[in-house]
Subunit: 273 residues, 4 copies
């Protein structure tokens, strides 16, 4: 009995290893990772190509096969993950550990990837909402995040500069509101349709501050153009501030790695020292 | 008599504390801050939504209620600030201290926030200027600045790099003038309306140097396009210079903070480790 | 016999030196470099000007002379390089060394530069493919790379930051896909032609994220504009991330050069002070 | 005689001091600087406003008065500079020193500022060239450079990063040529007018790589849009590279200033150590 249990445990341990991102040299796990990566990318490709008129008519069958196969594999993957998660120390408890695992971000993403298929079976969904439910398949993109752990380095830098970036964002939103409000009062009389209201003028404000400049809306009065010029030039600062912040973040990160001190975060705010 | 005075002083002290940005743990002050923050944001929302045609007709009453409530609260807040400011050491003198307080930037911002209501009562204002006076409500945006003290760090970096940024700005304005003048002489004959004068051509210059490029005005002659290409490429430097300046500013700031604090303090939150 | 062999070797050595990028003071080699540089630039100029309608009619003869002269010189250059490459230690073996040399990137570039002339002689090429074969002349641009070795410093920095840049690129592509997919579902009904499918919407996504904003395609619905605004603002991060990464790369490179060289050497030119 | 000579020398010395940019506390020199600065700015304003149709008719007289006054003052200034330049050690020789002074950049700029008036008097100029000669007044902008010596710091950083910036520029031009050539072959058949030739397509290339995106020319074929997307994304690197280079330049400059070592340049290449 004990041996059987042990064998099952070690089998579960192996399943867990294969499901997780592969360690160097673990061929079976690597093969599984690559297969799943390809399946996810195929899913994204299907979502993309389904919207092309000519293709849908011709390849509808293949798209549906792909969807069915994906749902089957994703379901098995999801169930195996729940079954094997107890192999990880933090989810060791058979019930509570699994419940805890179900609410990790990656497990929630895996669940939403299944929703478009299972949701209509569980709840009677109005035909009008079918489209919204199908749209949930878009979230399969985030299943990829498991395989790009290098994002974490980037995420750490963004996190360590959170305050500065947030202040910049607040400043940008304030500037956007002020610019759009002033521009509305200047341009509304000359172009009552394009600059119909302050929210409408904000579309001009975003296009100008971010220097996208589609050209669907722009000031034509002299006062409007002078204000627009100021905002455009201030828009340059909009690029300079976050770039400067991130540049110093990357330099810091580098120095931290060089010094390789073990205790490199503040226990109070969690930022790098 | 003395005790009564002391009680009043300590009451004034408490009012002052509540009006100021809350210290950690001061629940009453935090509640006041959040209430006022919400009220200011509601004001900005009303200014924004009032300009949307459909909404004004329907919600005019609510907008007016919001304005009346805001004016009442802002007036009380302003008067309480003047009354309690003597609790701060720098405004201790009952009369001169208060006068000094009235001319601080934050107090002036608070005053302008009241102007759209009280100005027409105090001075007979021509109906044509009513709109301009109402526009002063836009300045309520700056009432928010009290609650974003982190802007100061950003402001310090901008201030420490003032000279370099100013020289960059002068260079940009010079380049803008030169580019627009040359472009005017090249393109005026081919497009006498779009490139009507040098000031008009500057609108093209700004759109090109900042890479906004609305597309309402652009050179069509070969010479004009060659000049335009040069200016566009120089426009890249326009982004590179302030970004480089600010990046070195942020790196400096960080080093300054590190060297200033004792070794066992977090440079981000200032707490001891 | 031995002496004759030696003389031939030293002649081959000299040819090799002349063909390679000149050392300081080697006049003959410098002259050869400049001549070839001018010839390559003339080739690029011909490719460019051939497409201008008026010029082709008038200067067709000159363009053909230039092509014939170029092919002759490039052929001789290519053969001499193969013959003399054994003067370099890594290609010393008369046969294997030459084979190894033939597959170096620079030798392959030299070969493709000859393809537009020799390919139709070797293989019977359908008249429809003539244009494609002629297009291969564009690759002569890369013959210039031999003369810009400073690109290597830039290349090294890009290589040392490969991982961060790649992660940024993956993130950008993911964001582009997500933005385009959501925008398609929002805007397709309002603009069924411009936002015809997800791949078509990606053209909008690229123009927005990179802030190019041609203005041929942009959202018109309120929901679309709100999404578009988010994406535009996120597009700023798209500039901030690689810039921050490269800025830290350049700072690193400089420090590396400083620490590598002995104290009394210039980190820029490597000369002793 | 000797005393008279000395008095004249000291008078010339004083004139020289007044003409040069003022030392702190030298009121007369400061007043002169400000007067000349205002005069130059007035000149630029006149050049700008002359092109505005309505204004020329009305203020023609004032514009001409301004021109006459400017020419008079600029002439006197120029002659005084030549007379007094011998007060500077490097131009001490009465004849050779003055000749040397005449060919300094600032003196040449002062001369060109006078050309539009004196050139037609000296050489009989065809009426068709009058406009070109008048355009020389634009160069008065550069008379301002004397008063913005902080440009030198910026110039030093640009100079110390000359090589990296030049390589980036060459890379950009190569990429521009390659992108435009490929785009021409892809789009020419679909849009024979907009993409008429490779030089014409380069106008698209510049607008895309610099992210200006006027929207007057853009690809419409699928292949063209895919290439355009690649080029747009590469265009981001076009901003990232010079910015990264300059950011490291500013950081270096800062460190140099901090260490304040007297011998901080390499005697071989002149770059900062």
């Amino acid at each position: 009995m004990d041996r059987k249990n042990q064998r099952r445990t070690s089998f579960r341990q192996r399943v867990f290893e294969i499901l997780e991102v592969a360690d160097v040299g673990d061929r079976a796990s690597q093969l599984f990772d690559i297969s799943l990566l390809v399946l996810i990318l195929a899913n994204l490709a299907v979502i993309t190509l389904e919207t092309v008129d000519g293709l849908t008519a011709q390849y509808q069958v293949y798209f549906e096969v792909c969807e069915t196969v994906s749902i089957t594999i994703f379901t098995i993957e999801y169930l195996l993950r729940i079954w094997s998660c107890t192999a990880a120390p933090e989810f060791r408890h058979p019930l509570l550990g699994r419940l805890k695992f179900l609410f990790t971000p990656l497990a929630l993403i895996d669940l939403t990837a299944l929703a478009p298929f299972y949701l209509p079976l569980l709840i009677p969904i109005d035909i009008r909402f079918i489209r919204v439910v199908r749209l949930l398949r878009v979230l399969r993109l985030f299943k990829l995040s498991r395989y790009f752990q290098s994002f974490q380095v980037l995420g750490n830098i963004l996190k360590s500069k959170r305050d500065e970036l947030l202040v910049t964002l607040v400043g940008v939103l304030g500037l956007l509101w002020l610019a759009s409000t002033l521009m509305y009062f200047i341009e509304h009389d000359a172009q009552p349709e394009a600059f119909a209201s302050i929210p409408a003028t904000m579309w001009w404000g975003v296009a100008t501050l971010t220097t996208v400049g589609y050209g669907d809306i722009y000031p034509v009065t002299t006062a409007g153009r002078i204000l627009g010029s100021f905002i455009s030039i201030l828009g340059i600062g909009l690029f300079a501030l976050p770039t400067g912040i991130l540049a110093s973040g990357f330099t810091e990160e580098l120095e931290r790695r060089k010094s390789k001190l073990p205790q490199n975060t503040c226990p109070h705010c969690g930022k790098s020292l």
